[in-house]
Symmetry: C2
Subunit: 415 residues, 2 copies
């Protein structure tokens, strides 16, 4: 797209009350807009990143048999009373509202209850299982404080998958598949080498749950990392028993600040018992369904990438989730403009996501904007580069500047 048409512009400063680095950078670069503390809108550049993250997650969820659906935000009090999670003394992040007849509704902070209720209408027999369903849906959480930018917000898109299995064995096989899919996701979005599968508290149905924790000082969690085994333990559960279970020694672990970018959780029969989600097995015996939940927040991934991969000049996107793959900068006009327009059209025809800075603005400002926005590859066309029939190429994550003949550029990057 032509940058002259993009309605957002970069800014020198973020709002004064914005203390999180990720949000400061994303606001300055025009990716997000702060509406209220902990509530952010996604502007065109930010929405492009979100959609790419969503696409990566969706592909992985489909590959393990997930069926996509979309539940509602407005929640029926009855359903949540069934599981005992309606009361604000049990769940302290509810936003609640009312119909005109004064009956109370909740805004979903998660979806175990409505989904278990829904699935119970379709599952009768062992033939109807297993079922794996997921959604990208907005969650609302009434957080007391919101100071981590888009990494912890009061309204956010979440991918939540829920598994419904016939027995513990079928559950564990899927749980491991989901774990692998999560590893793939964090590798693809560029957080793989900083993200650890972390043993955390499991609740009443399994000893542990598994969190995916990315090392960053901006995180709110503390974990103990074992680099050799590529795993970690959440500080909340660290004790002798856990160390024994995992064959680890305290002295081999390093304490780190981290952010939870995903989690997978065995729910056992907690919700299937509450909603009488049972099935008849091959012998006609009634059995409860075994459930698991698997969560990931696309915006938290975006915020975490903004925290850990940025530098003093701005954002640094991996190509997989960048708003555009190429930032094409025109310096000057006349012949340079003709040639740059030409390259832009060819990139579009090759289906390459390109942001074309065709604005009438000084070179220094264009370079600064480009660094702040953080598109992986910068291509400059100017009278000077054209003297050698070339363009200048620089990758955002490198300081090297390369001069490449246009013919070679076309051969290499155009289809």
């Amino acid at each position: 797209m032509r940058q002259s048409l993009l309605f957002t512009k970069t800014r020198k400063d973020a709002p004064k009350d914005e203390i999180a680095k990720n949000a400061q950078l994303l606001i300055r670069a025009g990716f997000v807009h702060k509406e209220i503390a902990g509530v952010y809108s996604f502007l065109p550049l930010g929405l492009r990143v979100m959609n790419k993250i969503v696409g990566i997650i969706r592909e992985e969820m489909n590959s393990i048999g997930g069926q996509e659906l979309s539940l509602t935000a407005l929640q029926d009090k009855k359903i949540w009373e069934t599981s005992g999670r309606w009361d604000d003394s049990v769940v302290d992040v509810w936003f609640k509202t009312k119909l005109k007849n004064n009956s109370e509704l909740g805004l979903a902070f998660t979806h175990e209850e409505p989904l278990t209720n829904l699935v119970s209408e379709y599952v009768r027999s062992f033939r109807d299982l297993p079922v794996y369903v997921y959604q990208f849906q907005t969650k609302f959480r009434n957080e007391t404080r919101a100071k981590s930018g888009i990494m912890r917000t009061r309204e956010f898109l979440m991918k939540d998958l829920y598994s419904f299995s016939k027995n513990e064995n079928e559950h564990i096989i899927f749980y491991e598949k989901a774990k692998n899919a999560y590893v793939n996701i964090f590798n693809k979005v560029g957080l793989g080498d900083k993200t650890y599968i972390t043993f955390a508290s499991g609740g009443s149905f399994s000893k542990y749950s598994h969190e995916f924790q990315t090392i960053t000082d901006a995180g709110e969690d503390n974990i103990f990392v074992c680099k050799d085994k590529n795993i970690a333990i959440n500080k909340e559960v660290l004790n002798e028993e856990v160390l024994n279970d995992l064959g680890l020694k305290k002295e081999d672990l390093i304490e780190k600040k981290s952010v939870e970018v995903g989690n997978i959780f065995s729910l056992g029969t907690k919700f299937s018992d509450a909603f009488e989600l049972n099935y008849s097995d091959e012998s006609g015996t009634k059995k409860p369904v075994i459930m698991g939940s698997y969560g990931i927040g696309p915006a938290r991934i975006m915020g975490t990438v903004a925290e850990v991969l940025s530098d003093e000049k701005g954002l640094v996107w991996p190509d997989s989730i960048a708003p555009f793959s190429i930032h094409l900068l025109l310096l000057g006009d006349g012949n340079a403009k003709v040639e740059c327009d030409n390259i832009y059209e060819k990139l579009l025809k090759s289906n390459i996501d390109v942001l074309y800075d065709d604005r009438d603005m000084r070179a220094g400002e264009k370079f600064a904007d480009s660094d702040l926005i953080g598109i992986p590859m910068r291509v400059v066309v100017s009278e000077k580069t054209l003297q050698s029939k070339s363009v200048e190429i620089k990758y955002r994550n490198s300081d090297k500047v390369e001069i490449m003949e246009i013919s070679e550029f076309q051969k290499k990057f155009l289809k």
Copy 2:
């Protein structure tokens, strides 16, 4: 996808409290699930339809220069007090909630206010205009009654585009472009010949707004249609002056029940005045921005198609928005199953959306399910069709059954 894996199943009956035909059919066929009156979840089949409708709308919005973003549901009281629309006595569809510090938030029923506020941070000069932004975002409306199925709900996805223009002339040019884009959308989703551009009340900045009204007895509106001119007038504004303006005579008009599937509206400077959204023109003079709003509800389109294109056997989807293009039915097993599996794999490889009914179930039940679900083309493979090396083809919107040799079927439908 294999229907044996689809977790939803068809049902004989919809919930007793569901009185709208569209929701009855969509629930029975497994497209939506009713959570509360006026609040519906979208199941895998329904979400596929929604996504196709969203895709059609997005393509048209991009083609007229729309930039996609995503605003929030949670709304800041301050912003709405600025325009005078916070008070429940002014807007009677608010859902409101509270932060823990007891400050009130609203759930967006529309987004003029936050978007005007946002755009005012980026627009300074005539060079920054025009701006056309749109989103697919969930709206919440506290409707007193909800009895039209998914055609009028308390929580729904809406595409809303807002235009910001330098002057009335620039506004009108875009307004006409948007009108044409809407015509394209309704043609593409299969409602074109039942949908009329309808003159409706315009508010203080323009004499008329334009609604897109689709003829159906399930609608809540009344319009007067002029078939010759292919336009209509909303009953609410019908008077001598309007007839004169449009050069119509009352006796040439036919009164019809209809549903408003889209609307476009000139907002003038109502919101730009409230939010001081001004720009400096070429001579440095400060001028207010002229706005327009352009709304469409994808779920209402889906509900309207379910109302007007269905028959006594079930849903009838146009190919453009059908959950799948082909419903492949296997009758029998053995050789038929081998051949049907083979055709299924080939359809997948050709990137054709196919639902494969591979379930162990009687032919009559499969045919009834297929009619209820309403996929445009049904392809049956059985021992009988294989005796002539053929498949049986039937289109959902026709009674004709055609026998086609497999070789011809492959030539015609596989890439």
